[in-house]
C-alpha cells in the first residue's frame, strides 16, 4: 500500500506539468466540484493551492451574486464552498447564501443549507440571528425531516440569547410521537443546558420523563444529560439510583430489543453510560453503593465475551467498582479483571489496563505489585503512549525509596521524547516529585545544565506553575534562572525559538498578578534574549511589553517600558546595542539584573557564582542543599499533606473505621479515634526515615532501657529493603529487570518484600496477628514472683499494620468491630523481647531489679493500689486530671487476667491525649513489662506509677488563617455536603452557637465567621486536615466538608451530628 502511495506521490509533479489549471477550465461543464477536487489533488505546493482556491472563491462569489443561479446550482456551489472551508479558506461570501438556502430551499436544499451553516458559522456569529426564524418555522413543520434538520442545526450552533424563543417548541417535541424526534429534542435540550444552564432549569422534570421514555433510544439520549447533572451534583440525584440500577440490570439481562445489540452485546454504549453515572452516584456513599453492588457484579460477569466492546464495558465496570464505596469481593474481581487487561497481548487493552492501574493504585498500591514485570516491559515498549501511561502509573506509586529510580526513568523518557505535550506534562511531574522529595531536587536541575535546551525551558514553565512561594522554591527558581541565563550565554543559536515558546506560554498562562516575583525573575532573561534577537521578534516584544504595562510591579513596568522603547526606536537600539558591542554590553555588566540580584540577596539567596565556581561546588551540592529542604519540610503543612496522600494507602481499613464509628457512643468512638491515631503512624513505617530516627530518641529519653534489649529501629527499618533485594532471585533469568522491579516497587504497599517474590515467611505471622487487631493494644504478661519473664504489649500501630496488609477489608472491619470475639490471644514468646518485625519502636519498661527512678520497686512496694480498689482515672497525671475526658475503656482484656490495658482520651486545649493504662490486676508482682509501640507519630510520655498511664499526645485543632484556608480548600478533592441542625442559644446567633458547640465538643478550630457563613478547620493528627464551610440556610446549617482523605469528611460529619444532637 505504502509503495503505491509513494509512486503516486512521485508521479504528481509530472502530472502537474502536464495538466495544470488550464485543464480544470475545460471540464467545468461536467462538474465544477470534480474540477476543483481534481485541481487540488494535483497540486503539490501550498502556494498553488492558495492560488487555485482564490480563483475558485472568486468564481463562487460571481455565481452566488448572479440572479440566474437556481437553488439547485446554489446547492452545488455550497458543496464547493464547504470544500474550500475544509481546506481552511474562508468562503465568507457564501455564508449568507447558505442561510438563504436553508430558508428557501426544498427539503434537500434545505438540508445542505443547514449543513453549510453549521459548518461555516459558530454560536456567536451574527448571521445566525437570520436563521432563528427559519429554525422556528421548521421546528413546527409537519415534515419530519425538516424538524430533524432544525433540531440538528440547533444542537450544533444556536445563539445563546435566542434560546428562549425556541425553547417551548423544542420542549414540546419531547412528547412527539416519533422517537427519533424525541431523541433529538432531548439532545438539543442538553445542548441548551450546556450553554445556558439557567434557562432550562425548569424542565428538569421533563428530563425525568425522557429517562422513563418507552423507547430505549430516548432514554439513552437522556443519559447524556444525567451523566452531566450527576457529575455536577451527585447529591441531588441519589433518588434516581434505583432507576439507573434497574435500567442497567435490564440491559445487562438482555431485556432490550435485539436492535440494540452490537456484536451480540446488549447496548454496550448505554451500559458504559450507566456505569459511569453509577460511579458518580456511589462515590463515597455507602448506602447508594450498596444498591449497585449486585448489578455491577452482574455486568462484570456478563461481559466475558471476547470482543472489543465488552472490554469497554469491563473497563468502565472496574472503574465504577473502584469509585464507589468499596466492597471486598467486588474489588477482588475487579483487580483480577485489571490483571487481564494488563496482561493482554492487545495493545489497546494493555493501555487501558495501565490506565486502570493508575486509577486504582491510589487506593491500593499493592495492586501494582503482581504486574511488576509487565510494567517493566511496558516501560521499554516501543509505543510512546504506553510508555507514558507506565510512567504515569509509576508516578502514582512513588515513595521516598523508589523516587530516585522513577525520576531517572522519567528523565530518560524526556531525553527521547519530542512530543511537546508529554514533555511538559512529565517535567511537571518531575518537578512535583522534586518538591515532595527534596533530596532529588538536584537531579533535574543538573539535567537543566545539560545539553537539552528544551528541558530547562520546560522547567521554567514549571517553576511558574507548580510552586507556592516558599523560601526553598525561591531558591530553586533562582537556581533555575541562573542556569538558564548561563545556558543562553552558551549556545544561543538554537534557543530563541523555544524560548519564545516559553515566553508566549508565560504570557498566556501565568496571571501576572499571581506570580509577580516569578515574572521578575523571567523578565531579565527575556530582556537578555531580546537584546540578541530583538529584530526578528518585534511583535512578540510588543505584545509582551503591553502585557506587563498593566502590572502593579513598578520594576516590571519599567522593564517593559524600556523594552518597548528599545524595540521601537531603531536608532536608540543601535546605540545601546551596537552590532558588535551587543554581546559585550549585555554580558559584561548585566546591569539590568542588579535590582533583581540585590533583591534576591536581601531575600536570603546565595550570591551569584561564576560558572567555574559553581562547577566546583556542584559536587558538594547534594550534601549542602539537602539540609534546608529537609528541615523545612515538616513545617509546610501543604507539602506534608501531599506527601501523606502519596504514601498513604487509602485503604479499606480506614473506610471501615468510619463505619464502625457509628455505633455505641464512647467505646466505639474511642476506638475510632485510637485506630486512626495508629493508622497515621502505620503509613509512615515506610515513608520517611527521619521520623523513625527521631522517635526512638524520645522514648529513650523517657525510659531507661537496657541497651541490649533495645532493637535498633534503623536496622529494622532497613530490613524490608534488604529483604526485597535478597528476595529478587527468582525463576526468571532477567536479573536486570528483576532488579529494576525491586527498585521501582520498593516501598509500594505495606509488605512489599513479601509481595514482590511471594515470600511467605511473613505471611503466617500476619495472619496470626490479624484477628487480634483490636485497633488498640494487647498485652500479655507472664508473672511469677521469682523469675524475670517479660511480657510484651504490642501497640496498635503494629496491629493496624498487619490489617492494612490484608487485602480483604472485611477482615479489618471485623477486627475493629469485635475485638474480643476474634481475640485469638497472642502470647509472644516469653523470655527476651520478641524480634521486632517491622521497624516498630519498642519500649521496655522494666519493673523489677532496675533502678529506674520513677518506677516503684515492686519488691518493696508491690502494687500499692489496684485498679479494682481505686479507679484508674485517679492515676491520671495531675495536669490532665482537670480536663474533659472520655470514659475509661478497656482495650483488651488479654489472655492474662493479671494485666489489663485500658485507655481514655483527654481533651487538652491544644491537643488530644490518649492515655493508656497498663495495670496489674493480680496479686503477684510484675517484674517486667515490655511495651512496644510501632507508631512513630505519637509522642509517648511515660509516667510510671504502679499503674502508669502512657500518653499519646497529638494536636487536633488545625489553626490556619482564612487565606491558608482558602488555599487548602481548593487543593482538597474529597468533599461531602450535608445539612446539620442549628443550635439556638440565648443571645448568640445560631451559627456562632453551633460552631462554638462544635468547637467545644470536637475541638475544631473556628477560623472565621462572616455573616451567615463560617469556616472551621481541624485535622486528624499530623497533617490530615479537614475543612468545613458552614452556611446558615433557613433553619439548618449547610455544611460542606473537604479533606484530602475521602473518609474523613464522612466521619467528621457523623461526629458533628452527634455532638449537635447531644447539645
Amino acid at each position: 500500500m505504502s509503495d503505491v502511495v509513494e509512486k503516486t506521490l512521485s508521479a504528481l509533479p509530472s502530472l502537474l506539468s502536464l495538466d495544470s489549471n488550464a485543464g480544470a477550465g475545460k471540464l467545468s461543464s461536467t462538474s465544477k466540484l470534480g474540477n476543483l477536487i481534481r485541481g487540488i489533488t494535483e497540486l503539490t505546493s501550498k502556494h498553488d493551492e492558495e492560488k487555485l482556491i482564490k480563483k475558485e472563491l472568486a468564481a463562487i462569489k460571481e455565481q452566488v451574486a448572479s440572479p440566474n443561479t437556481t437553488m439547485r446550482q446554489m446547492k452545488e456551489i455550497m458543496v464547493r464552498a464547504i470544500y474550500c472551508e475544509m481546506l481552511g479558506y474562508q468562503a465568507s461570501v457564501s455564508y449568507i447564501h447558505a442561510i438563504k438556502l436553508a430558508q428557501q430551499g426544498s427539503v434537500l436544499e434545505k438540508r445542505l443549507g443547514y449543513l453549510a451553516v453549521s459548518l461555516f458559522l459558530n454560536e456567536s456569529d451574527e448571521f445566525l440571528l437570520l436563521l432563528v426564524n427559519t429554525v422556528l418555522k421548521d421546528l413546527q413543520s409537519t415534515n419530519l425531516n425538516e424538524v430533524c434538520m432544525a433540531l440538528t442545526a440547533v444542537s450544533q450552533m444556536f445563539p445563546k440569547d435566542m434560546i428562549p424563543a425556541i425553547l417551548p417548541i423544542v420542549e414540546e417535541k419531547l412528547t412527539h410521537p416519533k422517537e427519533v424526534i424525541r431523541r433529538k429534542a432531548v439532545l438539543a435540550l442538553y445542548k441548551f443546558y450546556l450553554i445556558a444552564p439557567n434557562q432550562v432549569q425548569h424542565i428538569h422534570s421533563k428530563f425525568r420523563k425522557a429517562l422513563c421514555d418507552k423507547d430505549p433510544g430516548v432514554m439513552t439520549a437522556s443519559l447524556h444529560i444525567y451523566l452531566q447533572l450527576v457529575k455536577e451534583s451527585p447529591e441531588s440525584y441519589k433518588d434516581l439510583t434505583v432507576s439507573f440500577v434497574t435500567i442497567l440490570r435490564q440491559v445487562v439481562g438482555g431485556k432490550l430489543p435485539m436492535d440494540f445489540n452490537y456484536h451480540s452485546v446488549p447496548a454496550p454504549w448505554l451500559q458504559i453510560q450507566l456505569l459511569r453515572i453509577l460511579a458518580y452516584l456511589g462515590k463515597e456513599d455507602q448506602g447508594t453503593s450498596e444498591m449497585m453492588y449486585d448489578v455491577l457484579e452482574e455486568s462484570l460477569r456478563r461481559a466475558e465475551m471476547n470482543h472489543n466492546i465488552t472490554y469497554a464495558i469491563l473497563y468502565e465496570c472496574v472503574k465504577s467498582i473502584y469509585t464507589v464505596y468499596p466492597k471486598a469481593e467486588l474489588l477482588e474481581k475487579a483487580a483480577k479483571c485489571i490483571g487481564n487487561f494488563v496482561l493482554s497481548p492487545k495493545i489497546n487493552l494493555k493501555y487501558l489496563g495501565l490506565k486502570a492501574l493508575t486509577y486504582v493504585v491510589a487506593q491500593d498500591p499493592n495492586l501494582a505489585l503482581p504486574h511488576q514485570m509487565t510494567i517493566i516491559e511496558c516501560l521499554d515498549h516501543s509505543d510512546i503512549i504506553i510508555k507514558r501511561a507506565t510512567l504515569e502509573l509509576l508516578f502514582r506509586i512513588t515513595n521516598a525509596q523508589n523516587v530516585t529510580v522513577i525520576v531517572e526513568k522519567m528523565l530518560e523518557f524526556l531525553r527521547q521524547s519530542s512530543n511537546d505535550y508529554s514533555t511538559v506534562d512529565l517535567v511537571g511531574k518531575v518537578a512535583e516529585l522534586a518538591e515532595k522529595y527534596p533530596f532529588i531536587k538536584q537531579d533535574p536541575l543538573n539535567l537543566c545544565n545539560g545539553m537539552q535546551p528544551d528541558i530547562p525551558n520546560n522547567f521554567l514553565r514549571l517553576l511558574a506553575e507548580g510552586f507556592d512561594s516558599v523560601e526553598e522554591d525561591r531558591q530553586l527558581r533562582l537556581f533555575a534562572v541562573d542556569s538558564y541565563v548561563l545556558l543562553l550565554q552558551g549556545e544561543t543559536a538554537s534557543l530563541p525559538q523555544c524560548f519564545l515558546q516559553v515566553i508566549s506560554w508565560v504570557r498566556t498562562k501565568v496571571p501576572i498578578g499571581l506570580f509577580p516575583e516569578l515574572s521578575r525573575y523571567i523578565f531579565p532573561s527575556i530582556l537578555l534574549i531580546f537584546s540578541y534577537y530583538i529584530f526578528s521578534y518585534y511583535d512578540v516584544v510588543l505584545m509582551f511589553s503591553f502585557e506587563y504595562f498593566g502590572s502593579l510591579d513598578t520594576v516590571l513596568r519599567q522593564r517593559a517600558h524600556e523594552l518597548m522603547i528599545l524595540s521601537q526606536d531603531a536608532g536608540l537600539r543601535g546605540r545601546v546595542l551596537s552590532a558588535e558591542g551587543r554581546l559585550e554590553h549585555v554580558d559584561s555588566s548585566l546591569s539590568f539584573l542588579d535590582g533583581h540580584v540585590s533583591e534576591a540577596l536581601a531575600a536570603g539567596a546565595a550570591p551569584y557564582k561564576p560558572p567555574h565556581q559553581r562547577q566546583e561546588e556542584l559536587a558538594h551540592e547534594k550534601a549542602l542543599s539537602l539540609e534546608p529542604y529537609g528541615l523545612s519540610l515538616p513545617v509546610s503543612l501543604s507539602t506534608c499533606s501531599i506527601t501523606d496522600r502519596l504514601t498513604d494507602r487509602q485503604s479499606p481499613t480506614r473506610l471501615s473505621i468510619s463505619s464502625s464509628v457509628s455505633g455505641n457512643s464512647t467505646e466505639l468512638s474511642l476506638k475510632g479515634g485510637s485506630t486512626t491515631l495508629k493508622l497515621d503512624g502505620v503509613k509512615r513505617v515506610w515513608g520517611k526515615e527521619g521520623y523513625l530516627v527521631q522517635q526512638p530518641k524520645e522514648v529513650v529519653e523517657e525510659t531507661p532501657l537496657p541497651p541490649t534489649e533495645l532493637p535498633s529501629p534503623l536496622g529494622s527499618f532497613q530490613s524490608p529493603v534488604s529483604q526485597t533485594q535478597t528476595a529478587s532471585p527468582g525463576p526468571e533469568p532477567d536479573q536486570e529487570r528483576q532488579q529494576l522491579a525491586s527498585s521501582l516497587f520498593v516501598g509500594v504497599g505495606t509488605h512489599h518484600s513479601v509481595c514482590l517474590m511471594g515470600r511467605t515467611e511473613a505471611a503466617p505471622q500476619r495472619f496470626r496477628r490479624k484477628p487480634k487487631g483490636t485497633g488498640s493494644s494487647s498485652g500479655t504478661s507472664e508473672h511469677s514472683s521469682n523469675s524475670s519473664h517479660s511480657s510484651s504489649g504490642t501497640a496498635a500501630g503494629n496491629t493496624l499494620d498487619s490489617t492494612t496488609a490484608a487485602t480483604g477489608q472485611q477482615i479489618s472491619q471485623h477486627a475493629l468491630g469485635h475485638p474480643p470475639v476474634n481475640g485469638n490471644p497472642i502470647v509472644e514468646t516469653p523470655g527476651p523481647l520478641p524480634p521486632v518485625r517491622d521497624g516498630g519502636v519498642a519500649a521496655e519498661i522494666p519493673t523489677g531489679h532496675t533502678d529506674s527512678g520513677t518506677l516503684a520497686d515492686p519488691n518493696e512496694d508491690p502494687v500499692p493500689v489496684r485498679p479494682r480498689d481505686l479507679p484508674l482515672i485517679s492515676h491520671l497525671p495531675a495536669e490532665l486530671s482537670g480536663l474533659a475526658r472520655s470514659k475509661l475503656t478497656t482495650l483488651c482484656p488479654g489472655p492474662d487476667p493479671g494485666l489489663a490495658l485500658s485507655s481514655c482520651r483527654v481533651y487538652k486545649e491544644d491537643a488530644l491525649v490518649l492515655v493508656v493504662f497498663v495495670s496489674n490486676n493480680s496479686d503477684s508482682t510484675l517484674h517486667r513489662v515490655a511495651l512496644r509501640f510501632t507508631s512513630k507519630q505519637l509522642e509517648v510520655l511515660f509516667q510510671t506509677n504502679t499503674t502508669f498511664p502512657i500518653r499519646f499526645s497529638e494536636n487536633l485543632p488545625l489553626t490556619v488563617s482564612t487565606g491558608e484556608y482558602g488555599k487548602m480548600w481548593l487543593s482538597f478533592s474529597h468533599d461531602v455536603k450535608q445539612n446539620l441542625r442549628l443550635i439556638t442559644a440565648g443571645d448568640q446567633s445560631p451559627l456562632t452557637a453551633t460552631l462554638d458547640t462544635l468547637r467545644d465538643r470536637l475541638h475544631l478550630h473556628v477560623v472565621d465567621i462572616i455573616g451567615s457563613e463560617g469556616i472551621v478547620a481541624c485535622r486528624l493528627l499530623r497533617g490530615q486536615p479537614c475543612l468545613l464551610h458552614c452556611r446558615v440556610h433557613a433553619d439548618s446549617l449547610a455544611v460542606w466538608l473537604r479533606s484530602p482523605i475521602p473518609e474523613f469528611p464522612d466521619s467528621l460529619l457523623y461526629h458533628c451530628q452527634k455532638a449537635l444532637a447531644e447539645a
Binding site: 502511495v5 470534480g34 481534481r38 489533488t41 425531516n145 489497546n348
Partner: protein, 187 residues
C-alpha cells in the same frame, strides 16, 4: 463529549472535519495539521489512543483514531467518553459509510462530503453520540434521501465513471483513491 471528528488521508489532506466546539478557522487548521502529525508517525501495531496535543486541550482530551487503507479517522473526545466505546463507534461509522456507498473509498468521501456529514449527523449530534446502530442510521439517512434517490444515483455513477478518467491521470492514483476502506476481514 466528542470535540471534533477529523478524517484525513495518508498525506494529511483533510477529507472531513467537524468541530463540535468553536475554534477559530486557523486553530481548526492547526488542529488538523497537528493531529495528522501525531497520528501519522505512529506505527500500525501501537495503540489507538493518543493523549491530546497541546492544541486540542491538554490532558483532559484524547485522540482516538483508526486507520483504514488510505484514511485516518480521528475522534477527539474529552474524559467523559469511553476509549474503547469510541473506537467501536468509528468502526460503526465506517461500516455505515461502506453500506451507504458500497465499498466506500476515499473518493466517495471527497465527492460526497455533504452526504458523509449527513450520515455523521445521524450518529453524533452536537458532540453527543445519538445512535450507534448501523441499521438505524441508514434508515434515517435513507428517509431523508428518498426524494433524492434519482438525482443521487445519476450523479453517483457519473462521478465514478467520469471524474477521474482524465488524460494524464495514472491508473495508480485512481487506484489509491478508490481503495476500499474496509477489507473483507475486519480487525
Amino acid at each position: 463529549m466528542i470535540k471534533a471528528i477529523l478524517i484525513f488521508n495518508n498525506h494529511g489532506k483533510p477529507r472531513l472535519s467537524k468541530f463540535y466546539e468553536h475554534y477559530s478557522e486557523d486553530t481548526e487548521q492547526q488542529i488538523i495539521r497537528e493531529t495528522f502529525h501525531l497520528v501519522s508517525k505512529r506505527d500500525e501495531n501501537v495503540c489507538n489512543f493518543l493523549e491530546g496535543g497541546m492544541l486540542i486541550g491538554g490532558s483532559e482530551n484524547k485522540l482516538i483514531y483508526r486507520h483504514y487503507a488510505t484514511l485516518y479517522f480521528v475522534f477527539c473526545v474529552d474524559s467523559s467518553e469511553s476509549e474503547l466505546g469510541i473506537l467501536d463507534l468509528i468502526q460503526v461509522f465506517v461500516e455505515t459509510l461502506d453500506k451507504c456507498f458500497e465499498n466506500v473509498c476515499e473518493l466517495d468521501l471527497i465527492f460526497h462530503v455533504d452526504k458523509v456529514h449527513n450520515i455523521l449527523a445521524e450518529m453524533v449530534m452536537g458532540g453527543m453520540v445519538l445512535e450507534t446502530n448501523m441499521n438505524e442510521i441508514i434508515t434515517q439517512v435513507d428517509a431523508q434521501n428518498k426524494m433524492e434517490k434519482s438525482e443521487f444515483s445519476s450523479f453517483f455513477s457519473l462521478y465514478r465513471r467520469l471524474s477521474f478518467s482524465l488524460p494524464g491521470r495514472t491508473g495508480r492514483h485512481r487506484l489509491v483513491l478508490q481503495v476500499p476502506l474496509l477489507v473483507p476481514c475486519l480487525p
